[in-house]
């Protein structure tokens, strides 16, 4: 019984803390003044209205107080209605005596109804708020907010749902430690975002980590380990933590703590868990997206590496040997006695054919991987492309520095593929190429004055390009209706942290 009363008291406390301070004050004003106003307004009509009519009128204010402030102002409002009820509306009028025995039961019934209404309304409001909060979180998840935005938002929503001074979301690491990823409430220096602590001891977060189940602490006196120690120093009295389960593993923990409440309401775990399901889904989603993006990026990088190696093998190996061979043929040619002009001519032809073959090989190896890109960077590489273009090119390249290799290669192929397409399909007389690199991204525009009507799905070139650019977290669009020329616009992020979205997500989600 005592426990239940305690729970009820805490529930009242909880419902109070759920609402803003202003709203709670208004609830008290409505609860206290409402019944008095009703009494004053209805007193002249008391013979026709009767006690029941008066009490019914006050119930409206009791419910209003419950909506705004929970059970307590509702009950106080109901209690305040009793003296004027006895004095004005229960015969004999204008004194504090009760004549009819039935009126006593009416009052008792009134208090019970007020209490029940107060509890129901309070729960309903709580539920509605939780649903609204869940909907906000779900919307965030659906709009693919970044991981840290989502974590911060969920932590705040959780905190607003519970009598919480303090809510922290943490991610478990492989070395049995926890890294805090989102924080709400003061003291702000308690477990700040980014801090990392070992999970030794029987703190709430340690228990959740070991059992994969919700855990609570109502007394910090005996709690060991760095987390418990810190909690004690922060003056925590009670805490509840629930696991965040992603793909059947305990990914992290959401824990709430209070410096004032001796014990959290019994349904706290359940209310927290409702949010964690959404969070788990969002994390699992982000993880698979990050893995996909990372693997895409790895595939492109591996392919590039292979091409670079092939180009190098061709250049340093095959090509060199063919050139040596050509020289040997020349030497042999020079040693053929002049009496054998036919043999001489054969050597000459063989050497010449070989030299042509080497030139062909150079052309091929340039297509496999442009050596100038690794050596000189994007600007000379794009200039070379422009010089070799079959269609006249107006060039505006502003890339002063060397960019990450993958970005340079992707940008190079955007220009190269676009120029190839212009030459093949556009019937253009001029191509404008703009390449500008800012701190965070490189932007490329290749626009021609040809017949337009390009089909972005045509050919594997553009599709491969899209894959390559998107693997780096970039975008590429091909636009241009019939007769308007074609423009290819690509944007590739440079900064590795914000740029390669995949890796960033990975870093947060890991």
């Amino acid at each position: 019984m005592r426990q239940r009363v305690n729970a009820l008291v805490h529930r009242v406390g909880a419902s109070l803390m759920l609402r803003s301070a202003g709203q709670a004050r208004l609830a008290w004003v409505v609860g206290i003044t409402g019944p008095l106003l009703v009494a004053a307004a209805l007193a002249p009509f008391r013979p026709s209205i009767g006690l029941a009519g008066f009490l019914f009128g006050t119930l409206l204010f009791v419910v209003a107080a419950a909506v705004m402030g929970g059970l307590r102002p509702a009950l106080v409002g109901a209690a305040i209605a009793i003296p004027p009820g006895v004095y004005y509306f229960a015969p004999p009028y204008d004194n504090l005596a009760i004549e009819r025995e039935g009126d006593l039961f009416v009052f008792i019934g009134f208090i019970v109804v007020a209490a029940v209404l107060g509890i129901l309304v309070d729960q309903l409001v709580g539920l509605a708020r939780q649903q609204a909060a869940l909907r906000r979180v779900a919307t965030l998840v659906a709009h693919a907010a970044t991981a840290d935005e989502l974590f911060a938002a969920v932590t705040e929503e959780v905190a607003r749902q519970l009598p919480v001074g303090f809510a922290r979301m943490g991610r478990y690491e492989s070395d049995d430690s926890i890294t805090f990823v989102a924080a709400w409430g003061s003291p702000e220096d308690g477990f700040p975002v980014g801090s990392n602590l070992m999970l030794d001891g029987d703190s709430v977060r340690g228990q959740v980590f070991r059992t994969g189940r919700p855990a609570r602490i109502d007394n910090y006196d005996q709690i060991s380990g760095p987390l418990g120690q810190t909690a004690r120093e922060l003056g925590m009295r009670s805490s509840v933590g629930v696991p965040i389960i992603v793909d059947d593993r305990v990914w992290g923990v959401m824990a709430v703590s209070s410096t004032t409440m001796p014990k959290y309401p019994a349904d706290t775990e359940e209310r927290l868990a409702a949010f964690m399901d959404l969070l788990s889904a969002a994390i699992a989603n982000a993880e698979s997206r990050a893995e996909l993006a990372a693997s895409r990026s790895r595939i492109v990088a591996a392919a590039d590496e292979t091409r670079r190696r092939i180009e190098r093998d061709l250049h340093d190996g095959t090509q060199q040997r063919l050139v040596s061979l050509a020289i040997e043929l020349r030497m042999a040619e020079s040693r053929v006695p002049s009496e054998l002009p036919e043999a001489r001519a054969m050597f000459f032809r063989a050497a010449k054919d070989l030299t042509d073959a080497v030139a062909d090989l150079q052309e091929i190896s340039r297509g496999i991987h442009p050596a100038i890109l690794s050596k000189g960077g994007l600007t000379p590489a794009i200039k070379t492309l422009a010089r070799r273009s079959a269609v006249a090119v107006e060039l505006d390249v502003e890339v002063e520095r060397r960019l990450p290799q993958q970005v340079e290669v992707a940008a190079y192929y955007v220009v190269s593929e676009a120029l190839t397409n212009v030459a093949k399909y556009a019937h253009a007389s001029l191509v404008n190429i703009d390449v500008h690199a800012s701190e965070s991204a490189i932007e490329l525009t290749i626009r021609d004055d040809g017949i337009g009507g390009a089909d972005p799905t045509r050919g594997s070139g553009l599709v491969g390009l899209k894959d390559r650019v998107e693997a780096l977290g970039g975008t590429i669009t091909v636009a241009g209706g019939s007769g308007q020329g074609t423009s290819v616009v690509a944007r590739i992020p440079i900064d590795r942290k914000s740029g390669i979205d995949a890796e960033r997500r990975q870093a947060i989600v890991r």
Partner: protein, 211 residues
């Protein structure tokens, strides 16, 4: 002096040069070895592969720069598998007696020997393939449009590093006619007159590259 990490090619080139009256005083496999040998043997000309160990990037170019600084009288021929404008201009900024050639140019033995001899004699030479690429690059309002076809041809030869008499020999006209063409080209393109050949090459290359 020969520097190339491919022994076969190096040896082949050496015997070619030996056969053409050159005295090969040393062979090196990388930039460090090359510099040591150049310092000790003081050759008239160093023929250097641009791509050598350890990085297989532009070690030959770097070595050429050092040689130019320490022993400015040494002629240098840089060989590259694929010629790039930036590399050529980088090298030619070092002054005269410099050449930047495609490796395959070596297989035309007689022409290659003549080119090396020209470089030793003071010329600055750029591979014709590179010049061809520069001259044939298409532009919307091409400033080269003001040139006659003959003038374009002369401009290309200027870019390759041919002297006026060299150009005269190549296109079968008198040196006086070439001089007239050159003056006309410089005037039309607003290029400065240069006293030395390598400056002229550099100016023409720069112009072609930037146009």
């Amino acid at each position: 002096m020969l520097a190339d990490d491919d022994v076969l090619l190096r040896e082949g080139l050496a015997s070619l040069l030996e056969g053409s009256g050159f005295d090969v005083v040393g062979q090196a496999g990388d930039g460090v070895e090359l510099l040591a040998l150049v310092r000790s043997t003081r050759p008239d000309v160093a023929i250097v592969d641009i791509r050598m160990p350890p990085g297989h990037a532009t070690e030959g170019l770097d070595a050429a720069r050092v040689i130019r600084q320490e022993l400015p009288d040494t002629a240098i021929v840089v060989l590259s598998a694929h010629v790039e404008v930036d590399e050529a201009m980088d090298l030619l900024a070092g002054g005269e007696r410099l050449g930047y050639l495609l490796k395959t140019r070596v297989t035309d033995v007689a022409e290659f020997i003549r080119t090396v001899e020209r470089i030793v004699a003071g010329a600055a030479v750029v591979d014709p393939a590179l010049v061809r690429e520069l001259v044939s690059a298409r532009r919307r309002r091409d400033p080269l449009d003001v040139l006659s076809p003959r003038e374009r041809e002369v401009l290309g030869l200027m870019a390759e590093g041919a002297s006026n008499s060299g150009i005269a020999g190549r296109i079968f006209v008198s040196e006086g006619t070439v001089e007239k063409h050159v003056r006309s080209i410089l005037g039309k393109l607003d290029l400065p007159e240069s006293e030395t050949d390598h400056r002229r090459v550099l100016a023409v290359l720069k112009y072609l590259e930037a146009r």
